[in-house]
Point group: D2
Chain length 365, copies 4
């Protein structure tokens, strides 16, 4: 089974290569009755697009989206929403010099082995440009969720070894777009930015961690035992290029905790039974607990670096050095923020419909 | 969409509750021509079953499997393999005292909210007994993979704060079944066991980390961009109860690395291009690299503890203490080893078929 | 992708061979809160089971069902319902004489080619016994639909060239179980029975047509453009062994009609807009119209006949005669009635949930 | 689950409305290595497009396709192929007069009930223009199948009560594009054409039957028991708007046959065991037999007619007459020929991959 569709009751099918004609997405399962225009989608794409700050690639793309179907009179009709973005600043020739030299840390060699040959133009399908479809689909998901009071947002909590201090949800909402690194701890953000500059100057790159939060969560979202909410989120986040780890709540730290520390005890609050802490990160047994969903993705340093690396020429089978001077980001997490939000929003919307909490036909029912 | 089916071209559908009549699995997509008997499945179930050592629950279940279909003359026929295990030592009455008191760290309350009410007998579907179906299905997957030289095995690398030292693959194969904690570093295993005893004596529990490895990997397994190999593995591992984090290769450590450190350079070895290191854990761009697959799951401490915890009686809505004296494991990772192996084996088998590398009809073709 | 799962939001996975240990089904997506016991399922299985009348095979099977999971205290819990039936009167040795001789009209030869070899015992998976899982799953679907006032029932409208006259829905409900041939036109039923006897005495078999009706239909059920209600019904009915044609409403007769005859005009009835006729059979554009759903399946004569036929011995590759003296039905449509009802009920239940009209978690919501 | 994706291992996701910006398709699962250009797709779209002859709507659309992704250097890369066609001659205003008056035989009223409101411009998603995506996807499927010697073609065998006589496969290939009605019996074609003219002159429309054939079939294609080849074909054909019946081989005629007539006996031919007749239409037990696949779809008369019909104004709830003077076909079967071919080709390609007979990664493997 091919792998370009994500989701079940709400699903996206993405397509497009870095230096082909266009990239896009078909979103199926959007309930009728949602006000939707290009503006809603464009604002998310603008957060993802290249060239937005000094921490991102200088490739210049306006990434202007066109909605091709599924909307009539400014409102969704229940039919699939097709959206696409033309690749304008493609420069495929720039990759000719590495046509035969797979880039370390990239999928070049493995695409070649899998498909017999490959589109060598800037990563082709394995390029970060593939995430445009995710973000466009996620924009619709986010708008649908807001109808139900669910808000998804993300921030960078670690970059190049600099960890952000604890921040409130309000601080994240307020601050995250105020810094190029998208960290809500503005002091740490300064230090992170410094790390980015250092790495860039060395022709190197740095990794980090993105945290994604969803507030306004209903209780009981998730489908045991394989469609658990955390399982779908883990799959969704891990499917983003460069992500090497995913955790929920205290995450890997749970390995060093005792049951009496880890368990979130129950108490009565305002007539409701609620967990008194949130070590679980809002998911227990694969079901949402009603507390905020908190999860994190570990992002490796950008594999494209101008520092010299070792590779092999597949034509001559000779070892060779490689320096990658294409347009690339010195670090990925800041631009991954909207992508990670999109993946979590897509999963939540899917589960809202699967759980009978969002009407799949007409939103206002 | 309900959630009890896992996989696409090779898929399991599991069913059954902790204290119901039975638990089981239907495995669909098993190619014809595989020699298969209950012995193959039983040996994996025996690694999972309760009562096998001092680190596991004293619930006594032989977990004897019966194959009900799909095998004729000792060989699979290409039709679905249905297997089941009767629950013998069920003791549903033992849970009556907590019928109205959701256990902290368990899904009790959230099942209740989702389904209107719940099967309160020992966790019902959210019990660890649910994994019997996974392990039985995984046993078939492991046997299929061995046909192609792919071996999946796992071990405990951290328990109660004790970390195992580096071990070779050979040491894992040799040692893992020699200790109750299933850690291949026998010295660390002793200390881990001590931690388990301490926690049990305190009426508490401890968490840990399981590492899963697959050797003999082909190149290019995985389906971009949402069916990436790591995405499916992350979803599969996170769907196991008690798992709070998943990582591949260096995992979360990548956040502190530079691109020049993280990237696995290429060299020529025996006429083949291979990565010279394996920071990627055998997966880049969602495709297998041919190097061993290495991934880890963080497992929280058993939520059932006899130490007093705070909860609420849902009938009276009064806060109350709760002490859980049922039969439970003081730590989960040792028994999760065969479950985690099963999930990885299921994903790999699915992708072998999806990628056209295992004939879906007749194994010997 | 293997093919033993049917449905999306409500799905069955069936398993089992004619002369293996057992046959069964896992039903996933049953909302919690439905009263369910073996009695509900058994009554449908009794309508399908062999030996019930002179028009069915003398194989004697009580087909006693056991529910293994998903029900607690007589009520569904939202977890998968697993059910199975032991094969008691299996007599695999009876098929040894045709081990190497594929039976004309059966799938024997093609299973052999597909899977490398086959379970030759009475058809194995391609036997009519495979439909036990469908009927058991359909029993749950029918009970769920009755909650919403949707009733599914079927009858034989043609058998061995004898056509039933027009009958009311009431006559179908009243009469269908009063005759061995399950035709509601009791006069025609007599003649059909005569045809069955004649065919049986000649060592031959006859075909016929089953009509399935659903009343109490909501409006707008179905998912354009590939999950249309009629598309799913057509696929479901055609998946039953021996069905060679499917039609909805006037069906094939539409080929000879004009638009002005075929179109169902609209009028106002009791404040609602309704079609004034039902040529469409209750489905237009793949969506239910609110009028009764009417569809039909053409069923070929039983391929197993004792009359001599020509075949080939696959071992010697010599042409040979074959007479099939196993236990078989002289005609299939009467026993297919509950199977066809099950398939339509499964599709409708699936679409009720997909369309947000039946809560997937808790039925009483 | 929404319904705009068809297929499993080879799948299309279609989108677009009759009078929106564009219509299109994403084809996922195309193996790398297939030579593909717009020419391959355009030639199929040209067979489907409006205005091609006197039997089709005068709406003038060139339906020029653009391939947006998945092809590099004239060859498929294994990534999704996205294709689209701009709607040029859309004239949404032409439908304003029937904005509130649902057209009999159309889905207007039922879309309105399902989605709360609807895109009233010429059927929106339920328009025949939706099939552009199917035909574009089918063009790729047909080209892939030709690699394996499988050819899919269709013809009109009945129109307005005129039946074509028996024709050879060669006659179909030679003649079908020589007549506007796409019937291979040229004499009957003349009479059919006469019926079309008569109906058009009366402001009426006529129905018919399309037969689809696939030659060069392998043995054993199909996935028991719900993914049988005939089940998938039935679902695929029934999902085309206006189809009310589907049959395989002798189809409904089997109801009047005896087993001894229906069964295709086996004989030895050229060292192979083959059925000596093809009453089964190339499928038994849901598996292909190796003989030509033969199936038929019954197509209702075009619901849009200029003859006066009865309907109701949904705003005033008053009964009213309606005459439809939009651009429409007086009969559908001739233009459905390429659509029906596409659906069968899509199913066969899907099953070729599912059955391990077409490499899903690299066609030339």
């Amino acid at each position: 089974m091919p792998g370009n569709t994500f989701g079940h009751s709400f699903r996206i099918t993405t397509w497009g290569e870095s230096h082909g004609n266009a990239v896009g997405v078909v979103v199926d399962g959007v309930p009728a009755g949602l006000e939707l225009s290009e503006v809603d989608v464009q604002k998310e794409l603008d957060r993802r697009r290249p060239g937005q700050s000094e921490v991102s690639t200088p490739r210049s793309e306006s990434d202007t989206v066109e909605i091709l179907s599924g909307v009539f009179g400014g409102v969704t009709t229940g039919t699939p929403v097709s959206m696409f973005v033309r690749n304008r600043n493609a420069n495929p020739g720039a990759y000719d010099y590495i046509k035969d030299i797979p880039r370390p840390g990239h999928a070049d060699l493995f695409y070649m082995e899998k498909y017999g040959f490959r589109d060598h133009r800037g990563g082709g399908r394995s390029s970060g440009r593939e995430t445009i479809g995710r973000v466009a689909g996620g924009a619709i998901a986010k708008k649908l969720l807001m109808f139900f009071g669910i808000e998804v947002f993300a921030h960078v909590i670690e970059l190049g070894g600099i960890k952000a201090g604890p921040v409130t949800f309000e601080a994240i909402r307020d601050n995250v777009e105020r810094t190029a690194v998208r960290s809500a701890d503005l002091e740490a953000a300064e230090k992170m930015l410094e790390q980015v500059r250092l790495a860039r100057d060395e022709g190197d790159s740095i990794g980090g961690i993105v945290e994604i939060i969803a507030t306004g969560m209903p209780i009981g979202l998730g489908e045991p035992v394989f469609g658990k909410l955390d399982a779908d989120i883990a799959g969704g986040l891990m499917s983003i290029g460069a992500v090497k780890g995913v955790e929920v709540g205290v995450g890997f730290e749970c390995a060093r905790m005792k049951g009496s520390q880890m368990n979130d005890a129950f108490l009565v609050d305002d007539g409701q039974i609620v967990p008194e802490s949130n070590n679980a990160g809002g998911i227990i047994g694969g079901l949402s607990t009603g507390l905020p969903l908190i999860c994190r993705a570990a992002v490796k340093p950008t594999p494209s670096i101008s520092k010299k690396q070792k590779s092999v020429n597949v034509a001559s089978m000779e070892e060779t050095g490689i320096e990658i001077h294409g347009r690339h980001d010195p670090t990925i997490p800041p631009r991954m923020v909207p992508v990670a939000e999109a993946m979590v929003a897509l999963v939540l919307t899917d589960h809202m419909i699967r759980g009978g909490r969002m009407n799949p036909e007409y939103l206002l029912k």
